[in-house]
Symmetry: C2
Subunit: 219 residues, 2 copies
Amino acid sequence: MSVAVENFVKAIYKNGKSNNNDTKPGNIAKELGISNAAATDMAKKLAVKDLINYEKYQELKLTDKGTKMALNVVRKHRLWEALLFKLFDMSLHDIHREAELLEHQTSDLLANKISEYLGNPKFDPHGDPIPNANGEITTTDTSISLSNTKEGKQYIISRLMSDDKEFFDFCSQNGLKYGNTVLVSKQFSSNKMTQISINNNTILLNEDFTSIIYVNEQD
Amino acid sequence: MSVAVENFVKAIYKNGKSNNNDTKPGNIAKELGISNAAATDMAKKLAVKDLINYEKYQELKLTDKGTKMALNVVRKHRLWEALLFKLFDMSLHDIHREAELLEHQTSDLLANKISEYLGNPKFDPHGDPIPNANGEITTTDTSISLSNTKEGKQYIISRLMSDDKEFFDFCSQNGLKYGNTVLVSKQFSSNKMTQISINNNTILLNEDFTSIIYVNEQD
DNA sequence: TAAAATATTTAAGCTTACTTAAATTTTATT
DNA sequence: AATAAAATTTAAGTAAGCTTAAATATTTTA
């Protein structure tokens, strides 16, 4: 399938999981940087191909076939991120951008080779789960956002859910990395700020950050 | 630039080096699997972009800008082949097919990272030279085709110039691999066949094969 | 709950990269 | 050198994936 189609189903999948859970054409259009009209147009075309269910003015819903396609692309994206992260010294943001292109030009065979080479990893360098060859995500995510953590407890960073360059630059400068340990020293519930300690540094994060950094409680 | 444009200048570059040295639209069209009309069309468009010099009914000539673009794509193609060959157990034909797609979705940054990771190799797994980041091929190719070798001498395989699956299958089954040694036991000039010995096996090759297998004399 | 704001859809049109068919030019052949 | 064959070019048309503008429906808010 074309790049435009793959990106369209991927955007529906992604927005269905977050982004206000809104998969109406306007939100998908914003995600993809195209006009609302183009999104409606594409939605109708993909309904004919049985990739989405389309009803006027309603949310776009992926069919099983569409979900499978989205997960196949997501798998390739995350495998590329994992491979590039392992082999090369590149920023997470750059890695994301390369993967965004490579994901559409990767055969299932190559994806499987990459997976095998990496030891069939369950997560990419952001902590996002990598679907298996059948398009299934077998891991159950028990992580919570930093904004929902408790004062005085230690957590391990499990996901950095963003593709923004500024965010990654900030994270890498401050040791906010998949697998690292943070201590939540204070929750300022009034203004939704969170104070954390990491590598002997104290950082104050606002909700823009704490809502997309996911962690697991340290045993 | 678009995939179609990149493939077009690449085809001119490639056909200019071999394929009867014919870069007229018809031959480029055949190379790309498009109609002659489409090739003429594209030629005119690329002339406007100063990628080729176009004169009616004449050969298509790459400008400096066009040559640079072609070499940039060739560099990425060959770097991908080298990387996939190193990391994964895949046939040369499969590797070629993947590289054919990946080459268009690779930033210069990533290409340089791949090159660095591989130790800035000068050749890909077919023995084809890899242009450097400036689009220069610094190595001088002294190899000759198997059809031009002398009886009784030993040669080292330096290039397998094809992207045909059957050819690669035959080669890998018979030890015809980049870097391997062959003894030319007999040249049948009458019917343009060449008899070689490799791994204690004797093989008789016709000109279809001997013209695309390149070798260097063993010192 | 009616008006205002917002979002979606429809309609018309554009560009890229093709296609086939017909016209024209070049190349090969005798 | 004339004619036949082959290649190139021109012309007209198509599909994908967009655009903007206008029409229509939904959602918000006062």
